[in-house]
């Protein structure tokens, strides 16, 4: 497509908008995420010699086009909703404006990065809502869709309020807290579970979380008590125990009683194992004495909605705002702004003025980012504030009724009517 633009001389400027047409059933809002990684990728975006050689080998592209690709960098601008803010269906998350070929070639990259991070952050925010202030940790790396997805899942979870991730590479790359884990295989490498616990507790004095369900959870809890009391004279304490199987509500109560009875009132109980926001909410609802949740696969893959219908649509070019009419897939024309008010948003044209806080801001110009990357801790605070500011019905795991109110401005509505009239006449 880019080749056809080039060969037909269509190198004028165009604006594309990235948004989600409709929210998945169990999403009352989305957490915008992935902007910093996208800005990195856009700044670094280029076709190297091997790319060009490969494209040439296909025999489909002109030398002129391939020569153009070889020197191509993104020279345009981007506007976006800051990471950690809340967005709704139909609201632009990112807008990319630049020479048509460049902006078009960024489509797959932009959709992939923003879509993945936003999918993962929006799911993690639900886990955070369910956890009601208790800790939850990202355990998803092993089952996320590739290394990138594991990194983005860790980052998205941290933005959405997770207290740590188990992915060491994410800890290093993102400067976020790590949570070490102990696997059943570790316990199984010892003949006596107590030897496994002793070894682990001594390796990480004060920090160890002992996995107690390898053979029998109740026996494991007694072993943890025995080992903790035995090591106390050496000045070694344990932080907690973890349950990874069985009826976690029932077992956590029994384990709490065993720990308390053994003088380990400060030792925390962590649970894991196929958890998601519904499971976390159910455990808390049952009054289970659980201090923290390891949440993995279902959060990182956003199991109930593993993709958002992110789309990337032409909204304006040098000749003005553009409209698409495909059945069930129409798009609103023009470069836009979102104005947030206490319980509704206004979606209008950027050139308009409206009540409320404007969400979309310039983030890149002439191909360079306008500000340094924002630390995860700040994104996390922003996300927490944004969720807290939502009408309370949206902070439910069930579909909010009514859903959030996004109003199309009068000027934007009028523009749609004008363009429809032109198309019908044409």
């Amino acid at each position: 497509m880019a080749a056809a633009y080039f060969d037909s001389g269509r190198t004028d400027s165009a604006s594309f908008e990235l948004f989600v047409r409709a929210l998945p059933e169990e999403r009352n809002f989305l957490v915008a995420a992935g902007l910093e990684p996208l800005l990195d990728a856009v700044e670094q975006w280029r076709f190297d010699e091997e790319d060009i050689a490969f494209l040439r080998s296909l025999g489909q592209f002109s030398d002129g086009f391939l020569g153009h690709l070889a020197t191509l960098r993104f020279s345009g601008e981007m506007r976006a909703v800051p990471e950690g803010e809340i967005v709704f269906a139909g609201e632009p998350i990112v807008e990319i404006t630049g020479p048509r070929i460049e902006a078009q070639l960024l489509e797959t990259l932009a959709l992939n990065v923003i879509g993945t991070h936003t999918t993962q952050a929006s799911k993690a925010a639900r886990v955070g809502i369910a956890a009601q202030g208790r800790a939850f940790v990202d355990f998803s790396a092993r089952r996320d869709h590739g290394r990138d997805a594991a990194m983005s899942a860790a980052r998205a979870a941290m933005i959405a309020g997770a207290s740590a991730t188990s992915l060491v590479a994410a800890g290093r790359a993102l400067d976020v807290a790590l949570s070490g884990t102990m696997a059943h295989a570790f316990v199984m490498s010892f003949d006596d579970e107590r030897d496994a616990f002793r070894t682990f507790a001594r390796a990480f004095p004060g920090d160890a979380v002992l996995l107690i369900d390898t053979w029998d959870t109740i026996e494991g809890a007694h072993h943890a008590v025995a080992v903790a009391n035995e090591l106390r004279s050496d000045g070694v304490s344990i932080d907690g125990v973890r349950l990874d199987s069985g009826d976690l509500a029932v077992l956590s109560r029994k384990v709490r009683a065993i720990l308390d009875g053994g003088g380990l009132r400060d030792v925390r109980i962590f649970v894991s194992g196929d958890l998601d926001e519904r499971a976390v909410a159910a455990l808390i609802g049952e009054g289970a004495p659980i201090d923290g949740f390891g949440v993995g696969t279902r959060m990182g893959t956003s199991e109930d909605a593993p993709s958002l219908g992110v789309v990337y649509k032409l909204v304006a070019d040098a000749r003005g705002p553009k409209l698409k009419l495909s059945e069930g897939k129409a798009t609103l024309p023009g470069r836009k702004q979102i104005w947030r008010n206490e319980d509704y948003d206004v979606l209008g044209l950027d050139a308009e003025h409206s009540e409320g806080r404007p969400l979309i801001e310039p983030v890149l110009a002439s191909g360079r980012r306008l500000a340094a990357p924002v630390p995860i801790t700040r994104l996390r605070d922003r996300c927490s504030d944004a969720i807290a500011a939502l009408p309370s019905r949206l902070r439910s795991l069930d579909p909010a009724d009514p859903s959030y109110d996004v109003r199309v401005s009068g000027e934007l509505s009028a523009l749609v009517d004008d363009l429809l009239a032109v198309h019908k006449v044409g």
Copy 2:
């Protein structure tokens, strides 16, 4: 955990097995995939200076352990089911044997790579079954979970029978066929749809697939006919038209009639838009005159089952076979083999002999792969043969009843009983 192994001197050899506990509801079988990428990653696996510096900065690890990590390479062996073969719940897909620390540290990598590729290939195989020999193309890159996931989705789809991918990077890296696409934005960059079609058809003479639903599909079909007939005198033909919205069964029939009426009987009809195996099967069931399907998000993210419950479990160490008893999560002990017979598999100990074709073979020794990578075309043939050899009830989109028969060998059952008895006594 690795640090605790090291500091306690537990550097003996151990065997871990990667398998899926239970198939998702809508999977009658899995397509084993991801082995070649895993072998690449295992051969290249190491901790670089920055990794070590980061781990040192955490203040949790001994100098001895960090020094060990700095020189660590995988020195062990791997056995695996070849890519493209079919596997079932409980059957080892990969077995990793080596010094305990090394084999343990590979857990997340192995689960992530094999889990992702196998998830994607198993979903794509269902699309292939639904397509009944018609072409399907991987369109998923824009919504897969990151760049790795887009690459693995393309590769997995090709193994499972897709005819091409739209991801240019995958075409280059994997030497697989590419399918160019035209977006609505391209059409919208022209005032007259016919100009868009002319430009695209001339840019890719003979290969162009025109997207005809930007404004009105029926009008678009007439425009395609007009442009094709106009360009014929210049020796330029078009390959097909694509519909991406609306009722595809109804519209494809109308479009076929328009194309045929315009003398374009050879022009093919492609469809896309939120397709999965169910949608493909329904369109074919309705007799829709569709020649090929662009299948994207729902295939690449394996929407109905975005992860498999892949696990990585210790099955043996220097002291013999190992058993885990966690409630609902027990594991079968010992290093194994799968023997495939016409309509059942035998899962037994590697040292046994059984009827049938053994599926697990050595793939890596002393940390080096034993054979060169297998070209995708061969994996694709293997997968096609393996699916064709299944009992026919498994080649249904609905749950097979009964499910495939995987029999635990007498020797393996006896070993479980022996270990249970030991544990109960202990």
